[in-house]
Subunit: 421 residues, 2 copies
């Protein structure tokens, strides 16, 4: 028995340390659209919200079939059914370069859960995890909750967001548990060449650091680009690759993600495989209806579905790039894949606006166009736009961005136009 007179139930340190910077920034932002202009959200990384991009009927019917099959309702192994894992292994294998088997696959509740498990399995409190800047903030959310520090390495806009390899290598220390490599990238839309991936692997190999590859945008590359799973390019470096149905199959809500354990040197056999297995038992895996459908989805989704989706996104990338590059003060970086474009903002050209955050806020209040500020990705002087919106909306959004920028541009200030509108 203890002596307490009043209730005091604090949250745990784990919960207090877990926070999503995007959410924190957005919640503190002024998001009041202009009353006369319908809002265009170029902020949401969900390809399904606009209604123009939908999963192929084959994908949907595979789940209907699995649901009616009647045999997909029970518990399965916490890492997933043998059939579903074998299907993922086949899907993620690269002939002669990466041969995966069912035992190398752990199904998870979305790619976020896959990343959570990989980071949790590899990193102990006090260790550090190297993450890209600009980068998807979940890595930090996950790590810091666990008492694991993240250290940023830079991506270089002038080199299509390749990794600053010197900085990467200099950041590695005795406490570095893993390097996160996100390719294709959110928020950059970059797709790394084979050569660059090999150079990254060399850094990892020299320093004996395993890689967590966030490959949720696998195969999501524009015409003329090639996607290489990083694990297919090394015989030495152990790679935990995280993927899923989320992006390519246009079903983020289904929460079907996976880890593939790519470890030709058998470095992870000693402990990490078991660690992942144990961690999978905490929440016992992902939905069995989607698992039941997975072999069909991965085998039967028509190529034309992927091609059509990418064609729309690439057309949007080219459209907005060609428009925005002409806007004084803006510097869009053309993406090679995924569904995003980073747009550099030369704040010296917009003397009336404090920073990218204020620029983005004012773009909402004056033009009802919502872009995420670079701050969300730890990358000031940028904003990220999403390329999955329907073309007419994107065109309209670009038009409004032009109006906004010319209104706030230094030259307009000189002419006293800045507040005329």
């Amino acid at each position: 028995m203890r002596d307490r007179k009043s209730w005091n139930v604090p949250a745990s340190t784990f919960a207090k340390n877990t926070f999503n910077p995007i959410r924190n920034i957005i919640e503190n932002m002024q998001i009041v659209p202009h009353p006369d202009k319908p809002m265009i959200a170029l902020s949401i990384g969900d390809p399904t919200v606009f209604g123009n991009l939908k999963p192929a009927p084959e994908i949907v019917e595979a789940v209907v079939e699995a649901t009616r099959r009647g045999s997909c309702n029970g518990y399965v192994s916490s890492t997933g059914t043998e059939a579903a894992r074998a299907a993922v292994a086949k899907y993620c294998s690269v002939e002669d370069k990466l041969e995966l088997q069912a035992k190398d696959v752990v199904l998870c509740s979305g790619c976020s859960c896959a990343l959570d498990m990989c980071i949790t399995a590899l990193c102990s409190p006090g260790q550090n995890l190297l993450v890209p800047r600009p980068g998807f903030p979940i890595y930090t959310t996950l790590a810091v909750g666990l008492g694991v520090q993240t250290k940023d390495y830079n991506l270089l806009p002038e080199r299509s967001w390749e990794i600053d390899l010197e900085m990467l290598e200099a950041s590695i220390d005795d406490q570095t548990a893993a390097i996160v490599v996100n390719n294709p990238s959110n928020p950059c839309g970059s797709v790394y060449t084979k050569e660059h991936l090999i150079a990254i692997l060399e850094v990892a190999a020299r320093n004996k650091v395993p890689i967590i590859a966030d490959e949720i945008y696998d195969h999501f590359v524009f015409e003329g680009q090639e996607y290489h799973p990083i694990a297919s390019l090394t015989e030495e470096v152990p790679v935990l690759s995280c993927g899923g149905l989320t992006k390519r199959f246009l079903v983020p809500g289904w929460r079907m993600g996976w880890i593939t354990i790519c470890d030709r040197g058998n470095v992870l056999d000693q402990e990490v495989r078991n660690g992942l297995q144990s961690l999978s038992q905490r929440i016992i895996g992902s939905n069995t209806l989607v698992q039941g459908a997975l072999p069909t989805i991965l085998a039967n989704t028509p190529q034309s579905f992927f091609t059509d989706t990418l064609a729309q996104i690439q057309a949007n990338a080219e459209l907005s790039y060609s428009i925005l590059r002409e806007v004084p003060g803006l510097n869009p970086i053309m993406p090679q894949g995924a569904m995003y474009m980073m747009v550099g903002v030369d704040m010296t050209m917009f003397p009336g606006l404090k920073n990218d955050l204020e620029l983005v806020e004012r773009l909402i209040s004056e033009e009802s166009v919502f872009c995420l500020p670079g701050k969300c990705f730890d990358c000031p002087n940028y904003m990220r736009i999403v390329l999955t919106v329907p073309e007419p909306q994107l065109r309209e959004a670009c038009k409004r961005i032009i109006t906004f920028c010319s209104r706030h541009h230094a030259s307009a200030h000189v002419n006293g136009l800045a507040h005329a509108n």
Copy 2:
């Protein structure tokens, strides 16, 4: 850069500390059935494996409809859609006693994930969590991974597995973050009376300790019994109740669980609500197809489905109880709900067998009947049998248990029969 000559990638302390005792015990058990007798597994807590218990067609078709609706594929709030949470709030409310709203509900990937989030949100390393013995081992799996110690309080078989309240209260100290109360109980099948639940709440109130209620077997009670959500009986004690579709709706693989935040005194408003919200962002919730179906499932599943399921289980409980209570050396404790029965084993009556673990192993090798040893629930001298098997199999299993027990009973030894078979 660091100086390492060879690969050494250990698992994190978190992963190493996460283990499932049931799995450990089972993996080290001798599970070789008798070659001439088909195996009867009374060990698996999955009501769907035998084919006799199936979700109602209304449940299945609700998911088919949601899948075809086309609007359930995208990201939703990490705690779940407003509609699904509102449906759970309504389902879990008790008129005049427990009024829940959508904001009080967090959808999770199964009840395991709900428990994980509650334990993670409330308990910091160095604190302790009180858990029942015998009890479902996941509480310990989850807590120990986090660096949180569990302390067992006893359930009393002679009082239908009510909690030893004195022991419970004596176990509370300044580091006690929460008490787990599991009602109806796995492995005991006990269902607590209103009076007993109130007595538990009094202990919690006196010591100002919040309760994590594992109510995954809600409403899963036999005729004549009443189920009370513990939160409906207190105005003071904050309760995080964990539930889901898993058991009552016979769909464990769907991974649809939830937390209801029951906190009439607003004790959890300060930090814990936010903590749960933050933790939910780590893996971004549960499958949206099931979320889309949830309002229909909770509102339209016919009462007859629940009644029929329970009638089968209750009949099985009565059948096996009446048979096994006549077996010298066995002492079954009649359950009042859930899907399990604990059977006491007086090991002094079986002098050739070391303990309940060996008894269970020999029951497999000699009779191909698989019960879980009490050891799995930290409760020696018991075995747990599952009551969801089809009646003919259960009858056959009981027959084999009789044969086995008479073969190994002390009286058989005296007569030199023990090894005759």
